[in-house]
């Protein structure tokens, strides 16, 4: 399995960092970019923010900023209207083209569903293609509670993006947050989503930009993501210390998009890229790949890459990228909300006990135990460890799983949460508040339609609102 193809790794770069551009479009896009700028060691590539909303633009930390449709929106947002976003981008096309001139790799991050992201992203992608760049899109689909309208806008934008990009990674917000109805969770859910996208942008840049002992190129990336209308699987883990190979894998699999590695067996090809300091050993790589192959289908195509980077020092990181088709994924299978930001999530879940849409009359903890022992995890319960540990190799799981989660998250995203808190609210305008108003069903399992409507709230009241 481990056939080394020795290439001189003398620091010559496979891709000139100046030729890489990371673009964030709209509110969500600029949040992702902020996260990349602040958290990821993103030294390859320039960051560029495009937005209609001038307030948002000002608060962004990216070095380049372009205001879309200055005359059209007078510095306001696109107000959830993709047509306006599109027009704004078209009006500013020359400026964008100038910024992208000469770039060979362009990443476009956008949250679909709103105005600017859905409208402008396809336009920008098209321009990037026109200047001859390889375009990778990172888009998020809206939470289901954002309503059908936004989902429809997102889907039509997604279809356009599929045409204009070379590779497209789709992140389903529901899979990352999964929280419906829980007010406290929203900030964190968005932050977690941004974090994962930020990681994946960073990782892919590194993947294709770094010289490798066994290099992974754009072609491999395309193979891994080739599923039509796919959902992207992404996991990133980093660790140092004696057991760093195991730890890195563990933390990569912990990624909610991978569902503890269970999603991996559905994919037909995946990229596994290991990157480490100069101390990385063949033995570690072997352990890691052997462990990983347990989660992967036997006949899956593993595109394997190794690179060493002095800057990483003692740590070793693993990036897993793959995709699966949409079919077969089910709502029930929604992963548990247990993201890198788990320390914050924890608070919200515990703090919000009263409003938590749980299993109903579970005030009586004894009764809860007896009835729900072995209950299937619902999207809103954060501690599903019992359930999962049955299915996994037991040595992977510890009872102090939660603790280690928190440690990980502390390392990874230090304490810059505030920046998100500041930047987030713009996106949330359309989220209806449904914390209470359900009467006797307050504590029962919520009944929510596919369109995100809470059926426990009196229809009479909902009708009146419309």
């Amino acid at each position: 399995m481990l056939e080394y193809e020795r290439k001189p790794a003398d620091g010559e770069l496979a891709l000139d960092p100046e030729k890489v551009k990371v673009i964030g479009i709209g509110g969500a896009g600029s949040n992702v970019l902020d996260r990349i700028a602040l958290h990821e060691r993103m030294d390859d590539g320039e960051l560029l923010v495009l937005n209609t909303d001038v307030r948002d633009l000002v608060s962004s930390v990216a070095e380049d900023k372009i205001q879309l449709g200055k005359e059209l929106t007078q510095g306001l947002g696109a107000g959830g209207d993709p047509d306006l976003g599109k027009e704004a981008a078209q009006k500013t096309a020359d400026e964008i083209r100038a910024a992208l001139e000469g770039k060979s790799l362009v990443f476009i991050c956008a949250g679909l569903g709103g105005g600017t992201g859905s409208g402008a992203a396809p336009v920008v992608a098209k321009i990037a293609r026109e200047v001859g760049a390889f375009v990778v899109g990172f888009v998020t689909m809206p939470f289901s509670f954002e309503g059908r309208r936004r989902l429809e806008q997102a889907e039509s934008a997604l279809a356009q993006m599929e045409k204009c990009t070379n590779a497209l990674m789709t992140f389903d917000n529901d899979r990352m947050g999964g929280l419906i109805n829980q007010k406290e969770g929203i900030q964190q859910a968005f932050a977690a989503a941004d974090h994962i996208i930020g990681q994946s942008v960073g990782a892919i840049t590194k993947l294709v930009a770094q010289p490798g002992l066994v290099r992974i190129g754009m072609d491999d990336l395309l193979t891994a993501l080739k599923n039509d209308s796919s959902r992207c699987l992404f996991g990133f883990g980093e660790a140092s210390g004696d057991n760093r190979a195991q730890e890195a894998l563990k933390s990569a699999l912990k990624n909610p998009l991978l569902d503890r590695g269970q999603m991996l067996n559905q994919s037909s090809s995946l990229i596994a890229h290991i990157s480490g300091g100069e101390t990385i050993t063949l033995f570690e790589v072997e352990i890691l790949m052997n462990e990983l192959s347990k989660y992967v289908n036997d006949d899956a195509h593993i595109l394997f890459g190794v690179s060493s980077d002095k800057k990483q020092g003692e740590s070793l990181s693993l990036t897993i990228i793959s995709s699966i088709g949409k079919a077969g994924s089910s709502h029930i299978n929604e992963p548990v909300l247990e993201v890198e930001d788990s320390s914050k999530m924890e608070e919200s879940v515990q703090g919000g006990k009263d409003t938590k849409p749980g299993f109903g009359l579970n005030d009586d903890s004894d009764a809860e135990d007896s009835v729900f022992s072995g209950e299937v995890p619902e999207p809103f319960i954060s501690d599903s460890d019992e359930e999962d540990s049955d299915e996994e190799d037991s040595d992977e799981e510890d009872s102090d799983e939660e603790d280690s989660d928190e440690e990980d998250s502390d390392e990874e995203d230090s304490d810059e949460e505030d920046s998100d808190e500041d930047a987030q609210p713009h996106q949330q305008d359309l989220i209806p508040e449904k914390k209470s108003g359900r009467g006797r069903f307050d504590k029962a399992e919520p009944t929510v339609t596919d369109e995100g409507e809470d059926l426990d709230v009196p229809s009479f009241l909902r009708k009146k609102k419309k």
């Binding site: 009359l361 359900r438 009944t447």
Partner: protein
């Protein structure tokens, strides 16, 4: 089979727990011996949320049934529902090998087809509850009822598969077992209800049975004599009461009475300024309720639920194909004028279903609330009839019906 057999059907509903004890005569006719009922607590939307309380209620109902009928209830047929239960249709297809004396379709072939049809990817935690044969196709010939013995090269079978989350179904089963009473079969509620609420002719012509209960609205649609769609929407009469209580700011018990005594789903037929006076009591200062308002609240909820149901069905089938129309049952079908509203929404004839195919004194049991447990008795009888049809009942039961009532594996795994 010289002796009449006695079965018990149990439904753990959101508003009441109901046990029906019925006697099946040798000629297949059913006589209801008696029922035991208890208002249920600890159940929301068809599923148990408070185990011990629910068990106490269940115990009450069982004791009542035993006293009334003088029958020791040792095992029951259990109806379950819940929003997690879903259904789909899938087709399996096999090729019969060529050769001397071959091309004849055997039971084994049908088994294989069934296994293929059932080979659908369910979500990880789900298990089969039923897989019901719809139609066989032999070499493109449609709607073959019984292909065994026929010649053919390719046999296909359409199965209607009902599945749900294993652990959630097990909870209900466990509740019964701890009484202790053994569970013979687990049946999805509307499938049971349809056994008595729809006649064979209605099923053949195409019929939709909607069971609007306390916590859930269950439905099953028959086309061409077989189940085409089934499912559950976790909205029921409780929601109506809750709506009234929340909008009118009245206690739940008052809201429930308002709904039953005064409420109607139609807004048009109410005179302006018709008020209902709620008298005050120590916990509630009196109130005048505008009847139009009350009906509007009920109308909003019921029409929304029915519209949702219609949209769900329209996704896969054309609702106009229902020749026999729509039948309403369940406790909430007692709402005034609900059939008129349903007619408006579905643009099809709607009637309140009544229990057919029972002998003996049925009048006391003519209650839509009893549709499901009554249906269980008929269901039990049908299983039993199939079991004894052939010489080796056990094997045949497994073979022919094991899939039909796939719940059996669920029961085995429970302990």
């Amino acid at each position: 089979m010289a002796k009449a057999k006695i079965y018990a059907g149990l439904e753990i509903g959101t508003s009441k727990i109901c046990v029906v004890v019925g006697e099946v005569d040798t000629d297949g006719s059913i006589k209801i011996l008696g029922i035991g009922q208890a208002p249920s607590r600890g159940i929301r939307k068809g599923e148990i949320v408070d185990f011990e309380t629910a068990q106490t209620c269940l115990h009450d109902a069982l004791v009542q049934a035993e006293e009334k009928t003088d029958v020791m209830i040792g095992n029951v047929y259990l109806a379950i529902t819940g929003s997690h239960i879903e259904s789909l249709c899938n087709r399996g297809s096999i090729r019969i090998p060529d050769g001397p004396g071959a091309n004849e379709i055997t039971e084994e072939d049908l088994d294989e087809v069934r296994n293929l049809a059932r080979d659908v990817s369910l979500p990880q935690q789900n298990v089969f509850l039923h897989s019901i044969i719809r139609d066989y196709y032999v070499d493109g010939q449609e709607k073959v009822q019984q292909p065994v013995g026929m010649f053919g090269k390719v046999v296909e079978a359409d199965y209607h598969i009902i599945h749900g989350i294993k652990t959630r179904m097990q909870n209900t089963i466990r509740c019964v077992r701890e009484i202790p009473i053994s569970v013979d079969e687990v049946v999805f509620s509307p499938i049971a209800a349809a056994q008595v609420m729809l006649s064979k002719e209605q099923k053949d012509r195409g019929a939709l049975l909607i069971d609007i209960g306390g916590g859930t609205t269950d439905y099953v649609m028959y086309l061409g004599g077989s189940v085409a769609q089934s499912g559950c929407i976790a909205v029921g009469g409780d929601h109506i009461t809750n709506d009234i209580s929340m909008v009118m700011k009245v206690p739940l018990t008052r809201a429930e009475r308002l709904k039953i005594e005064h409420g109607s789903v139609m807004v048009q037929n109410v005179d302006q300024n018709e008020f209902i006076v709620l008298e005050d009591d120590p916990h509630f200062s009196g109130l005048e309720i505008d009847k139009i308002m009350l009906n509007k609240i009920i109308n909003a909820r019921v029409s929304e639920t029915l519209e949702q149901l219609r949209n769900r069905i329209m996704k896969d089938d054309d609702i106009a194909a229902l020749g026999a129309g729509i039948f309403l049952t369940g406790g909430s079908s007692k709402l005034k004028e609900i059939d008129k509203l349903a007619e408006e929404i579905f643009s099809l004839p709607v009637s309140l279903a009544s229990i057919s195919s029972m002998s003996g004194a049925t009048a006391p049991f003519e209650n839509p609330q009893l549709a499901t447990p009554m249906g269980l008795i008929r269901y039990a009888q049908m299983i039993e009839a199939n079991k004894t049809e052939k010489t080796n009942p056990f094997k045949l039961f497994r073979k022919k019906l094991g899939g039909l009532f796939g719940g059996s594996s669920l029961i085995e795994n429970n302990n």
